[in-house]
């Protein structure tokens, strides 16, 4: 299989943002692919914009990194000028302005989530064209196609923090199971009035779905294994 090293680095991805009673939970997988090669199996797609606002990145790795770098810089300036922490709405709108005004050149879908004292926990989805839409939960990336039905059924208002996080972890792991461009570990970020908590779920801690097998070490690895019995004829 020819590996095209010149293929743009894209994050196949599954990204999720969910509001709960008191804040938001952001979740993502960790696979960055260059064509069919996994360039980074443990990337962090949930990037900080301010102390209380984070963004989930999907699509072209370069474009999403540059956009979040610019927005972090503008938000920092804005915070200094305003004299208090920026609101999630402002952060999301700054992202939207960059995404919309450069829509011909950028290929990145983002989910902005955070907590501020005026509105509480908020999630804003900013897909490819640069629309901004405030939603109680948002999903994005190639793996999200497999989650629309799941969220229609599983989402409910007023979840607790643990329920919301479990929902996010379950959803990302379901998407990883079905989407080739998503994989690796599940990372979550919980943002509420108390602050920010980062969690990490390695592959073996995730639930197993239909047809998935328990991880099993190869018999070659076990030094004490005597090998198969010789056949008796």
């Amino acid at each position: 299989m020819e590996i095209d090293a010149d293929a743009p680095h894209s994050m196949g991805t599954t990204i999720i943002g969910v509001t709960y009673n008191g804040g938001v939970v952001l979740g993502a997988d960790s696979r960055t692919s260059t064509g069919v090669y996994v360039a980074n199996r443990a990337s962090d797609k949930i990037t900080q914009l301010t102390d209380n606002v984070y963004v989930c990145r999907s699509g072209s790795a370069a474009d999403s990194q540059i956009v979040s770098d610019y927005v972090r810089y503008f938000l920092h300036q804005h915070t200094i000028q305003l004299g208090q922490p920026a609101t999630v709405k402002v952060a999301a709108n700054l992202v939207r302005l960059l995404a919309y005004n450069n829509k011909n050149m950028l290929q990145t879908g983002l989910i902005v989530g955070g907590w501020d004292k005026y509105e509480g926990g908020k999630i804003y989805g900013i897909p490819l064209g640069g629309t901004i839409i405030e939603q109680p939960f948002a999903i994005g990336g190639s793996g999200s196609s497999y989650l629309y039905g799941f969220f229609d059924q599983a989402w409910k208002e007023g979840m607790t923090k643990d329920e919301a996080e479990q929902l996010v972890v379950k959803a990302v792991s379901l998407a990883i199971a079905r989407d080739g461009a998503s994989g690796g570990v599940v990372r979550t970020v919980i943002i509420n009035s108390e602050g920010v908590t980062r969690n990490f779920y390695p592959g073996d801690k995730l639930p197993l779905w239909y047809e998935e097998l328990e991880p099993q070490f190869s018999l070659l690895d076990i030094p004490s294994s005597p090998g198969p019995e010789p056949m008796n004829i």
């Binding site: 090293a5 743009p8 980074n40 370069a62 990194q65 540059i66």
Partner: protein
């Protein structure tokens, strides 16, 4: 906004004006010049005291090896080195440019350069050129904040990893790293692992070959081990030490070693106030 009537674009970026002409020439059978690529296997890993970078030494021009012993580990700062894969001209130019920018920055700030500074300068340059500057880099160094290792892709995206490989031989080298890397490697273990990964690239990838270069960077100290391993010696070296075309018959051999030329500098007059 006034419209500038120039051939060269106003703010960086390439001018694609000649692309149609080139396409027409190619259709007529004119071969485009083949450019030098470093097929390459480049690797980096973080060990307990710092960072180790490794690279092979083959440079190719299409199917031909044009340089059997080129240097792919470029100097960026006294505490930062960068391995480059892709178009040789691009990697050389971009690392040279950023190295100079870092030096100016050191003069302005009076401080040791940081790896993320080099990273940001490289990534914004590469992003501005939208992937046309084909340089894939492994940047490593140790600064006041600790050891760092980053990969930078031609489109401008970066990854921060404990071990990384790039280039055409990256899959072969990554296979070695994935099976043998663990945290807290000692210096010797790290050098051995890097050498193994590069050798895996040299022997299994056609675009990589020749020798192994290694660079070890620790706090306040760096060691550039040029040609640390030479697993591909010339198999047939003529004992005569010279070669003429077949029809020439050698009648007499007389070897005269060149005399060493020593310059004596006249000691000048002592300076007087």
């Amino acid at each position: 906004m006034s419209k500038l009537e120039f051939d060269v674009p106003a703010k960086g970026g390439f001018s694609f004006d000649l692309c149609k002409r080139n396409e027409m020439l190619m259709k007529k059978g004119v071969q485009p010049p083949s450019y030098r690529k470093t097929g390459t296997t480049i690797v980096g890993l973080i060990f307990q005291d710092g960072v180790i970078l490794g690279a092979d030494t083959r440079a190719t021009e299409g199917p031909i090896v044009c340089d059997k012993n080129c240097e792919k580990i470029h100097y960026m700062a006294p505490n930062i080195y960068c391995c480059g894969a892709g178009t040789a001209a691009d990697t050389e130019a971009v690392t040279d440019m950023v190295s100079s920018q870092l030096q100016l920055h050191r003069h302005h700030t009076g401080r040791e350069s940081r790896v993320i500074t080099a990273l940001t300068l490289l990534k914004s340059h590469l992003f501005n050129y939208q992937g046309y500057v084909q340089a894939a880099l492994v940047l490593g160094g140790v600064d006041v904040t600790g050891p760092h290792l980053h990969t930078i892709y031609p489109h401008g995206s970066t990854d921060t990893l404990p071990f990384a490989t790039m280039g055409s031989g990256s899959l072969a080298a990554m296979a070695v790293f994935e099976s043998k890397y663990h945290e807290g490697l000692t210096r010797d273990e790290g050098i051995k692992l890097v050498t193994e990964a590069i050798c895996s690239g040299i022997f299994n990838d056609l675009g990589s070959g020749s020798n192994v270069d290694v660079c070890v960077i620790t706090k306040g100290h760096k060691e550039y081990l040029r040609n640390h391993l030479l697993p591909n010696p010339r198999s047939y070296v003529s004992a005569k030490g010279f070669s003429f075309s077949k029809k020439t018959e050698v009648l007499l051999t007389k070897v005269t070693p060149l005399k060493e030329k020593v310059e004596i500098i006249q000691s000048g007059e002592a300076m007087e106030e």
